[in-house]
Symmetry: C2
Subunit: 99 residues, 2 copies
DNA sequence: TGGCACTTGTCCTTTTTTGGGCAAATTTGA
DNA sequence: TCAAATTTGCCCAAAAAAGGACAAGTGCCA
């Protein structure tokens, strides 16, 4: 989960929630809630967070997207089949662009 | 896309939109829009549609879920990485249940 | 050329989600 | 034990999505 990831990054860098809050210009209670998944992490924050924690934006972006996909698939008995289909369709989609 | 799938199933069975609309108890224009992805296909309709078209509910469910995942991943450059992570996390999650 | 089937456009209400603020409580560390 | 950090609870407004209805238009064909 991205909230937990953010928390790990933040603490490992000795940054305090208030600092993150200041950078994102929100209440620091909001950061706490983001870290505990109580509030969603807006995608628009990703770049600032990546900058602040000095990780690549790509890395956070991937985690963020994974979360969204997991939201759809968690507790879904057919998740495996779904992933297979999605993989195929994405490949097809990429191919179509070539035509 | 599930809309298109529904359309294919429907026409292949010689069923008319009005019939589907009656079964779902909605306006038939709504069916047209569902088939063209203009309106979402509510998950709660899946079972009735499966019954009507005589396909397994599982089949439609998988397509429906795939659509939702594709919505997240389409046009995402890191989709492949995301799928890998999701796959792993789902496996972990399933394992945790065993403990 | 009338009648189906279907599509399209406009409008509407209700529900859900997002994106917060603020204060109080709680935890943590020096 | 004091202060800073964090969490929690409650509240709120705006925005977006869901879930339609209805009317008018289009396409087809017998």
């Amino acid at each position: 989960m991205i909230g937990n990831e953010i928390k790990k990054l933040r603490t490992s860098r000795g940054i305090v929630q208030r600092m993150v809050a200041a950078r994102l210009d929100v209440d620091s209670a909001y950061i706490s809630k983001m870290e505990s998944e109580e509030k969603p992490v807006s995608r628009s924050y990703i770049s600032k967070l990546a900058e602040l924690f000095e990780v690549s934006q790509k890395e956070l972006e991937i985690i963020w997207l994974s979360d969204r996909v997991l939201d759809v698939l968690v507790n879904e008995p057919y998740a495996r089949e779904v992933l297979a289909i999605v993989k195929k369709k994405l490949a097809e989609g990429a191919a179509e662009v070539q035509i």
